[in-house]
């Protein structure tokens, strides 16, 4: 799989994503935000970081970059887009995903390992996991509090488009297990077509046991399986 990692000037997880693709047997390539060209891409990653400093609102400025025009077109044609952390914020601002990511309930930056629960495995992003599987991955964000109007959230739930939820050590959703205060403990979602996924936790930092977790591998494996499977283009 050929995966393009978009680098905005303030991206700081582009290298981590690049490596995660390599570790998953894919061929990563960077795309500078001012450049264009996704014709060779099987998938795109919008990595974490602070794209343009994010002083105004996370992701607000990044969506105007030339590369993003291509990413939006790529997504509209069904191309897989994985939007991690700041990438999730950018994808929401760009209208690729519904809702918005507001300040954490604590008004502090959160950096720790977070328990997550896989809500559905029937997607190109989660097929390598077990239904209901509990994962642990690093989170690192100040604006990860997912909000959308109630109708939108109901539809996400009904369509099975909530992929991941924040849970506590027992695997249950709870106030304590949802530190940033996201609506219905949502940690990751996908768009209607299922080809754009946004998530706040970092699978790209959970690829090797020596750094604490391998629970992020499944996301990349699922994507690889989808791209290499019989239905692949």
């Amino acid at each position: 799989m050929k995966v393009v990692v978009v680098t905005f000037p303030g991206s700081n997880c582009d290298q981590d994503c690049h490596r995660a693709v390599e570790l998953s047997g894919g061929e990563p390539r960077y795309l500078w935000h001012r450049e264009r060209g996704l014709s060779d891409a099987d998938a795109v990653i919008l990595p974490g970081g602070f794209a343009y400093g994010d002083y105004l609102r996370a992701g607000s400025i990044a969506r105007f970059s030339p590369a993003m025009e291509d990413v939006v077109a790529f997504a509209r044609q069904g191309g897989p887009v994985m939007a991690i952390c700041n990438g999730f914020q950018i994808a929401c601002e760009a209208g690729l995903l519904p809702g918005a990511l507001m300040r954490n309930r604590t008004v502090r930056f959160h950096s720790f390992d977070q328990y997550l629960r896989i809500e559905t495995t029937d997607t190109m992003w989660t097929s390598a996991y077990e239904p209901g599987q509990i994962l642990s991955m690093p989170v690192a964000h100040a604006e990860g509090n997912y909000e959308a109007d109630p109708d939108t959230i109901d539809r996400l739930e009904e369509d099975g488009r909530v992929l991941l939820r924040y849970v506590d050590a027992t695997g249950a959703t709870s106030e304590e297990g949802n530190p940033n205060g996201s609506a219905r403990s949502i940690a990751g979602i996908m768009n209607e077509q299922g080809n754009v996924m946004g998530l706040m936790p970092h699978p790209d930092r959970a690829m090797e046991a020596v750094v604490g977790s391998v629970d992020g591998r499944g996301v990349f494996q699922s994507l690889a399986r989808h791209l290499n499977g019989p239905g692949a283009k």
Binding site: L56, R57, S60, I61, F64, C92, E93, G99, A100, M102, R103, N104, R105, T106, V107, N145, E147, A148, D149, G181
Partner: protein
């Protein structure tokens, strides 16, 4: 061309949760300000815009709000023209 001073206020939409507002509310209560009943926190953006008319300047600012300065999902905005005049002292950043 005149230089207009505008103020853009971007505020969290009513009904939506406002974590900074809530945190400040909590802190004010802890400091003993019990009469505080609600706190909401927004952003104020002061713009200096060169435009042929105040109307034009305001129109541009409103466009900027829709495009960049506010998030349509979570925020409302309001533009007001504060004044007009000559180029100020001090260059920009």
């Amino acid at each position: 061309m005149t230089r207009y001073q505008l103020e853009v206020r971007v505020v969290p939409r009513t009904g939506l949760l406002d974590p900074p507002g809530k945190a400040i509310h909590h802190a004010l209560h802890s400091l003993g300000y019990l009469g505080v009943e609600d706190v909401r926190v927004g952003k104020t953006i002061f713009l200096q815009i060169d435009a042929p008319s105040g109307r034009e300047a305001r129109g541009r600012a409103e466009e900027m709000c829709r495009k960049l300065l506010s998030n349509p999902v979570t925020e409302d905005y309001e533009v007001s023209v504060l004044g007009e005049g000559e180029v100020q002292d001090g260059t920009d950043s």
